[in-house]
Amino acid sequence: MKTFRIGGVHPAENKLSAASAIEVLGLPKQAVFPLSQHIGAPAVPCVAKGDVVKVGTKIADAGGFVSAAIFSSVSGKVAKIDSVIDASGYRKPAIFIDVDGDEWEEGIDRSETLVKECSLKPEEIVEKIKNAGVVGMGGACFPTHVKLCPPPGSKAECVIINAVECEPYLTADHRLMLEKPEEILVGVSLLMKAAKVDKGYIGIENNKPDAIKLMQEKAVAYPGIEIVPLKVKYPQGGEKQLIDAVISRQVPAPPAIPISVGAVVQNVGTAYAVYEAVMKNKPLFERIVTVTGKSVVKPSNFLTRMGTPMSQLIDAAGGLPEDTGKVIGGGPMMGKALMNIEVPICKGSSGVLIMNDKEARRGEVRPCIRCAKCVSACPMGLEPFLLSTLSAHSEWERAEKDDIVSCIECGSCQFTCPSNRPLLDMIRLGKSTVMGIIRARSAK
């Protein structure tokens, strides 16, 4: 069975919510939409205080080419445009909407019927995706239409769908595949058409045999789509790792991007969002969020409207357990500990993980014993112990030479370190500094 070549770790899977069917979560009292919930320029509000909006009304325009529009997930009145503490822990501008009823925009097809036929041209599909504010649903939130417009000189050869869900605990993609397989496959065909390729792969780790089986059965009817079962290894969901695992091609160091080797990688959640956007005229305003944790009463997967506070999801899953140590937005490996559980669900919120006190605590930091476990674990072939030291000593030139910008911040090094060293913390600092230096240099 296939997997990527270098590095990787095997964290405990803990897929506690894998058997819980997707439930529809109730509407929040007030929905909050941060304006920067994607990579790129923040969106620009196109509503004002007091405006009445419906479900699916555009409330903010894309702020540039690499940006995405934001749509209301509720109907009601715009209460204010103010700031809210988002997952970063800082206040960011956001639109607040007081919920009143549940009235949808006309034109959105709310029926469950599967629509397979699509007569749109590739450019029209991209335009529809763009106009629906679709971004990568895996967590990085890169605007989808940008990935489908390859830079001049490069050509896509295949679409790879990331259905790996290599993060422990999370099951949102797994449940989506079990419950909406046909919709996903139509979405993949649309993505293939938009990228002008006739080959599509769906990479699924073999800890989801039911999903592999179901998708394989359904995929027979969709020419060009192949289901690729993959050996379980973290971080297989990393774009470069997935390309390596599925088509055995290696993406060179930045500035090369996946398209340089002919691959367009999209998340399985994105494929579903593309299906809804193109076939059902439904912009991106809801997503599946896993709420899980060892002490959580009812680990669940909720179909959640964006802007719902995380506290509402936690309550629906049985409330915040007493021994809570950390609440994490996302999975345990790449997620972010939250300062506040009122943080709204955004386009990239794949899960809410509640870690108990014991699990959450970091161990005592001890000196590096030069065991090189981090070197073996690094899926990018870097030397994390060295990069973190260079970063701590502000040796930016050497850090750049040692390819710190190639780091995908998967956290395998920190996970594997027997001395509990904060390797990724320091590397992240170094990476952002070095990227700033490179940007400043190229701006000159």
């Binding site: 503490i85 970063s88 822990g89 972010k336 300062m339 904060p422 320091m426 600092l429």
Partner: protein, 294 residues
């Protein structure tokens, strides 16, 4: 015997030729270095702190000698005394400079600013700043990991374990600015030392709106503007929900300190206020209030 003789002669010849080449090269490629550069470097503190803006002490010495004037040049670590010595060596006039000191503009001690979460990542302010908003509800204040302490080459800044905030040792601080660069939140500012070491400044950098700032910290600036109205010298400005006192305009009257409803304005090294009567600050000379900075 022959062998030894050959060896001695040939080695001697090689030595001689090398000596001639070296001599010629040293004359031909000689670089004249102004001897004053070494002299100037000698009077500098050799801490290589970079506070002057040049790469280390030798860089500063070279710049002083080559510039032909000491205008705008100051070694913050050596201070006025070092500049006078340099002036004497070079036969130039040293610019009169005002002594400066680093000031920590955050008073969010554990008591004033309750901790709402616990940060257990890498003990570095830069990392903490990039990862989260800090342990308190104030996203602007001191993170308390001590990057400034590590940056100081003069042992002039230390964490107070009680307040969790850094404190500057005025005697040791040379105002080189290393801590200012180290602080990811630009809390530390280099301000003039002031007359008799007295300073009045806003000890807060919170730019949140009043109600938000008020909830986060007991001593945050809420930009109410009372100090601006009170100031007779137009020394105070409120920008981005934060008051700032211009040290060049401030006359140390302390009226703003008295009206600040949140005690965000701090006056250091003043004598204790006399009850009722508002004393102008300049009258009582030997004042050493225990009120610590920051």
């Amino acid at each position: 015997m022959d062998l030894i003789l050959v060896a001695v002669i040939s080695l001697g010849a090689i030595g001689l030729i090398a000596a001639v080449i070296l001599y010629v090269a040293s004359k031909k490629f000689a670089v004249y270095e102004d001897p004053r550069i070494a002299q100037v470097a000698e009077v500098l503190p050799q801490a290589n702190c970079g506070g002057c803006g040049y790469p280390g002490c030798s860089g500063f010495a070279e710049a002083c000698v080559k510039a032909g004037s000491l205008e705008g040049k100051l070694c913050p670590a050596g201070g006025q005394a070092a500049m006078e010595k340099i002036a004497a060596i070079l036969g130039l006039q040293a610019e009169a400079s005002e002594p400066k000191v680093a000031v920590v503009r955050c008073n969010g001690s554990c008591e004033n600013r309750p901790r709402i979460v616990k940060y257990d990542g890498a003990q570095s302010c830069k990392v903490a700043h990039a990862t989260c908003g800090g342990e308190t509800a104030c996203a602007f204040g001191c993170l308390g990991c001590g990057d400034c302490v590590k940056a100081c080459q003069f042992d002039a800044i230390h964490m107070n374990p009680e307040t969790g905030l850094p404190e500057v040792d005025e005697e040791k601080c040379t105002a080189c600015g290393a801590c200012v660069k180290a602080c990811p939140r630009v809390i530390i500012e280099i301000r003039p030392k002031g007359k008799n070491n007295r300073r009045v400044y806003v000890s807060c950098v919170n730019k949140d709106k009043g109600p938000v700032a008020m909830k986060a910290c007991k001593v945050s600036c809420i930009a109410c503007g009372k100090c601006v109205k009170e100031c007779s010298f137009e020394a105070i400005k409120v920008e981005n929900n934060l008051a700032y006192i211009d040290p060049n305009k401030c006359r140390l009257c302390r009226k703003c300190e008295a009206v600040c409803p949140k005690n965000a304005i701090v006056a250091v090294n003043f004598p204790p206020r006399k009850p009722k009567v508002e004393t102008p600050a300049t009258e009582a000379p030997k004042a050493e209030t225990p009120k610590a900075e920051a």
